[in-house]
């Protein structure tokens, strides 16, 4: 039995507008999602904005009711047994919100320790331990409004861990963190998983998911389009190579010609300052360098790299095909 189980879960948002002639619209955010997370696993949910990641997490932590399907956390049904679920899960989201700005970091933790029923005799020690863990010891008496984004994020993590949750939901926790802060966060998450906490993580950073996650589900338009280990996903989707070409001023129509070449799985151009980066995913065994350069005849070409596919390549291919 999985610690987290989602079975054919859907969630539809309904909105209505107009005073006299009221019209309503239905927006399906999650469509028939099923997955299971095992104890001690670090499971990643990846997907573009609006793919349904946060909606799925909010259903799992009992803040939203699913429209249909079944969700269980630690064997408890999130609809019928919300209090049992809430006692055992922690929730941390990224960004500046979710804290009492005018209170100190310490008072924020005291407040949430009461809310999460941390026994009074344990509170002081637990808060001290968490302040050490997230590197806020010594700054806890300052008001949160004076904290940097990284400090706020670390305080969020301490808050989410106050009641020693068995399952931790991290919704884009590293958003806005500097590279050192993000690295420390990843180390803290690894430590938690090593100590037996089950973690469900959503992130936009592929290297983060690649480094941390045991398994990943890729969501696109409310549906799971692939599930597996990071290595599985890389193998399943690309299986060939990736060619990156730095170009300057690609004329209209060139990208279409490249996409139509035999052996090309996908091609896209991204703006990189004054230059553009042409990324071409190549089918196994296909030889495409000369034909691609032929299409770019007359265009200034800079750096040219052939590399192994990354998780990001796999991700882009999965979500663009969805």
């Amino acid at each position: 039995m999985g610690v987290i189980e989602a079975d054919a879960v859907t969630r539809v948002f309904r909105s209505s507008k107009g005073l006299l002639r009221r019209t309503s619209a239905e927006i399906p955010a999650v469509r028939g999602v099923s997955f299971a997370v095992q104890r001690g696993e670090l499971f990643g949910l990846l997907g573009p904005n609006g793919a349904g990641k946060t909606t799925t997490i909010k259903m799992l932590i009992t803040l939203l009711l699913p429209t249909s399907g079944r969700l269980r956390v630690l064997g408890y049904d999130v609809v019928a047994q919300p209090r049992q679920v809430r006692r055992r899960v922690g929730y941390v989201f990224g960004g500046d919100r979710g804290l009492y700005e005018r209170l100190s970091g310490l008072d924020n933790l005291r407040y949430f320790a009461e809310l999460y029923a941390v026994p009074p005799r344990e509170q002081r020690a637990r808060i001290g331990e968490l302040l050490e863990l997230v590197g806020l010891a010594g700054r806890e008496r300052e008001r949160v409004e004076g904290y940097s984004r990284g400090m706020r994020q670390r305080l969020h993590i301490a808050r989410g861990l106050l009641h020693r949750p068995d399952v931790l939901f991290l919704d884009e926790p590293s958003i806005g963190l500097d590279p050192v802060g993000a690295r420390e966060l990843r180390a803290a998450v690894k430590t938690l998983v090593d100590n037996g906490t089950t973690v469900l993580l959503t992130t936009h950073y592929m290297f983060e998911a690649d480094e941390l996650c045991d398994r990943i589900a890729v969501l696109a338009k409310g549906q799971i389009v692939a599930t597996g280990t990071p290595a599985d996903l890389k193998r399943r989707v690309t299986g060939g190579n990736v060619v990156e070409v730095e170009v300057f001023g690609v004329p209209d129509g060139v990208l279409g010609r490249i996409q139509a070449l035999p052996g090309i799985r996908s091609a896209l151009i991204e703006e990189r300052g004054q230059a553009q980066l042409l990324t071409v995913r190549v089918a196994p065994g296909a030889e495409v360098i000369q034909p691609v350069l032929g299409c770019l005849d007359g265009t200034r070409v800079g750096r040219f790299v052939t590399r192994e596919p990354t998780l990001e390549d796999a991700y882009v291919e999965l979500v663009t095909q969805a």
Partner: protein
């Protein structure tokens, strides 16, 4: 025991949160003092005696109500805006236990402005604060503050489901001043208003405070009615909160996005 500690600690931290801004603190004093001055000036023309003390007490309870009604209704909207409402709902503690200390902290700030209004009346307008039954007077104030906190709790619960319900607090602020007899005795209001007034705990609280101060009537009866109504508000609020939370989870109104 856990519940007592929870309410005490969260009330204290919410009070701390609300007392941090010097500007807000000054406003919570100046706002009722402005209205109290108007009341004192009106009544001073008519009757400089016991009525003025009654008006002074009424003006001071107005401060408690004003500090609670508008802010209680908008409190959860503020929690929603700062992203903490979801965290309160996601906590294992039943939601009403978390909302009540919030509104109680507002009523406490109201009590602070109440004391200031009485002192303002004493030193600026020369209204003597004569209290016949000091113990009953203090008890009446405590129960009235608690009851107003409970009424604020009922208002706050509505805004969990309805994002614009915060406007209700502002809409009710001034009608309650009139209906509950803060400014004019209930006997002078139209007959149809009285049953509405009897359903509002501040009416009974106000009557108890006046009885205890002037020695006319029995403050205990009024106090009992005030306390029972407060308990009623608490029960209705607790029952409503379950339904409204479920509706909010269905309609996704806990967050702004």
């Amino acid at each position: 025991m856990r519940l007592v500690r929870l309410v005490a600690v969260t009330w204290w931290l919410q009070l701390k949160l609300r007392s941090r801004s010097a500007f807000d603190g000054l406003l919570s004093l100046l706002w009722p003092l402005g209205f109290a001055s108007t009341v004192f000036l009106m009544y001073r023309q008519r009757d400089p005696g016991a009525v003025l003390l009654s008006a002074s007490l009424g003006a001071s309870v107005m401060g408690v109500w004003s500090a609670t009604s508008t802010t209680a209704a908008s409190a959860l909207q503020m929690e929603r805006r700062q992203g903490t409402l979801e965290l309160l709902v996601a906590a294992p503690t039943p939601f009403p236990y978390l909302v009540f200390p919030v509104t109680l902290s507002m009523a406490t700030i109201g009590a602070y402005s109440m004391a200031t209004t009485l002192l303002f009346g004493r030193f600026v307008f020369g209204i003597p604060i004569v209290v016949r039954h000091p113990v009953a007077f203090v008890g009446s104030i405590a129960v009235t503050v608690l009851a107003i906190g409970m009424l604020g709790f009922l208002l706050a619960i509505g805004s969990v489901r309805y994002r614009t319900a915060w406007a209700l607090g502002s809409a009710l602020e001034m009608p309650v001043w009139l209906i509950c007899g803060f400014l004019v005795p209930l006997a002078q209001l139209p007959g149809w208003v009285r049953p509405v007034a009897w359903l509002l705990a501040p009416t009974w609280g106000m009557a108890a405070i006046r009885s205890a101060a002037t020695g006319v009537g029995n403050p205990l009866l009024d106090l009992t009615a005030c306390g029972l109504l407060a308990i009623g508000y608490g029960l209705i609020g607790a029952l409503l909160s379950r339904r409204l939370l479920d509706a909010a989870r269905t309609r996704a109104t806990l967050a702004l996005t």
